[in-house]
């Protein structure tokens, strides 16, 4: 049989549950560490780990042993899932803030809820703060103010296409920053 990663991939594709357990035992700690570095240790990181291994088990053919190591593939999956989680959290926080402004007389979230989201929110806010001003502006308007691209274009006085390209650049930079944090993870 072929090399270790190729053999593991072939076993996963054949429905070998022993292979899945073996892959988890070998790479699970690294995947968890990578996820925890971005979303913080706890339930969020565990969700990312679960997503990564369910994805591998459900679609083992998406991993190509000739393209790289299984560990590298899993870390890449973890990075994407963790960043997706952060983005979702960013949107959730933005929605929550808009909601507070519209319902100022209602009760704020509980201290527990605030603590839960504090870590992820601060990571993302720091990353946004480091963006060039023009890109930060469209991100804040689109995500924190909930504007559409057309509304952002009108508010800033730039073409809609420019808004979209700035958003793309900003999101790519955010992902890179968050990725770097992940790569520097122990």
């Amino acid at each position: 049989m072929g090399g270790t990663d190729a053999l593991l991939a072939a076993r996963l594709a054949a429905g070998d549950d022993y292979a899945l357990a073996e892959v988890f035992d070998r790479f699970g700690p690294a995947v968890y560490g990578a996820a925890a570095c971005v979303v913080g240790a706890g339930g969020g990181a565990q969700d990312v780990v679960q997503d990564v291994f369910v994805e591998l088990w459900s679609h083992p053919d998406r991993y190509d042993p000739d393209a790289g190591s299984l560990r590298g593939y899993l870390m890449l999956l973890a990075r994407h899932r963790a960043v997706d989680t952060m983005r979702s959290e960013l949107r959730r926080i933005a929605r929550q803030e808009r909601h507070y402004r519209l319902t100022i007389d209602e009760s704020p979230p509980s201290p527990g809820e605030q603590v839960l989201s504090a870590h992820m929110a601060s990571e993302v806010r720091t990353a946004i703060h480091r963006l060039p001003a023009a890109q930060r502006q469209v991100i804040e308007l689109a995500y924190f103010e909930g504007m559409t691209c057309r509304e952002v274009a009108s508010a800033v006085g730039i073409p809609e296409g420019t808004v979209k390209s700035r958003l793309r650049l900003a999101l790519a930079k955010l992902e890179t920053v968050l990725d770097r944090q992940l790569l520097e993870a122990p």
């Binding site: 549950d17 240790a41 679960q50 459900s58 122990p186």
Partner: protein, 286 residues
């Protein structure tokens, strides 16, 4: 560069494995292979052999294959098998215990001196008759057994055995003609592995192989899968895991390669695994 990794939280491993099993049950290979009927598998195997035979040079027909047969004789043997299958479907008791080789020897030897096209046409007609008889059969009980060449098994199983046989002899012929070996259609291979894998405990017991209590068999590639088999006559408690290529495994079961040539990945007692693999070859017809 080595980095310290955090401990995985307690319970995460179990949670991940359970969620994975929920998303996709163990045992089935992915991407999923098309499910076909045993009759379709037989037809596809026959079509594949026909294509190989149609592409042979006239000189290839006289090349030596297995036993004392040349290619033409081997095709004659297959015509004889079709004749016996048709007698079996007609309820002829004489073919139940007839020997697979002896019973078809006359059909093999009468090919000598014939035009290969005549041999090919005769075999093709015999296959067509079998296909028609199977299609016309009104099976009230699909598990009802038929008897042929010492085997007693449901017709749908017999058809997979026949597909297995046609593929095996196709490769005997390709080997004789210097052609690359053929890999079965994945849908046909799927039925072949599902036929052969569960027979390993019986084969091991019949061969007297000192097997493990449990065999975890993984056949890789399209048409493969994973089986957890309780051995019929285990020598001792314990489990052996064997991972092998699905096509190679079928060639082993056809007694065309040795366990060493299969190059399996084994976990557990290697002696017991070797015994099981050696026993697999005893499932071959000829």
């Amino acid at each position: 560069m080595t980095a310290t990794q955090p401990d995985v939280p307690t319970g995460l491993r179990a949670r991940v494995l359970e969620a994975s099993q929920h998303a996709r049950a163990a045992g089935e290979s992915v991407p999923a292979v098309q499910a076909i009927s045993p009759a379709e598998a037989f037809s596809r195997a026959a079509d594949a052999l026909y294509r190989t035979l149609s592409a042979l040079d006239s000189a290839d027909w006289s090349r030596h294959t297995i036993r004392d047969l040349d290619v033409q004789g081997l095709v004659g043997h297959l015509t004889g098998v079709e004749d016996d299958v048709q007698r079996c479907l007609a309820g002829d008791p004489a073919v139940k215990l007839a020997d697979h080789v002896e019973s078809t020897q006359a059909a093999a030897t009468r090919q000598a001196g014939r035009d290969p096209a005549q041999t090919l046409g005769e075999w093709r007609d015999a296959v067509s008759r079998t296909v028609s008889l199977v299609a016309a059969r009104d099976d009230d009980d699909p598990e009802a057994c038929v008897g042929l060449h010492g085997m007693r098994l449901p017709l749908h199983v017999l058809l997979v055995v026949r597909a297995f046989e046609l593929w095996t002899h196709e490769n005997d012929i390709r080997l004789a003609a210097g052609l690359p070996l053929a890999v079965p259609d994945p849908a046909v291979l799927r039925l072949m592995t599902r036929l052969a894998a569960p027979l390993l405990p019986v084969a091991a017991a019949s061969a007297g192989a000192p097997g493990p209590k449990r065999l975890h068999l993984v056949l890789t590639g399209a048409g493969g899968g994973t089986w957890d088999l309780d051995m019929t006559d285990p020598a001792e408690a314990g489990e052996v895991s064997i991972v092998a290529d699905a096509v190679g495994f079928c060639r082993l079961v056809a007694d065309r390669i040795t366990p060493a040539e299969l190059d399996p990945y084994i976990t557990g007692d290697h002696g017991q695994a070797a015994g099981v693999l050696a026993a697999a070859a005893t499932l071959a017809l000829d």
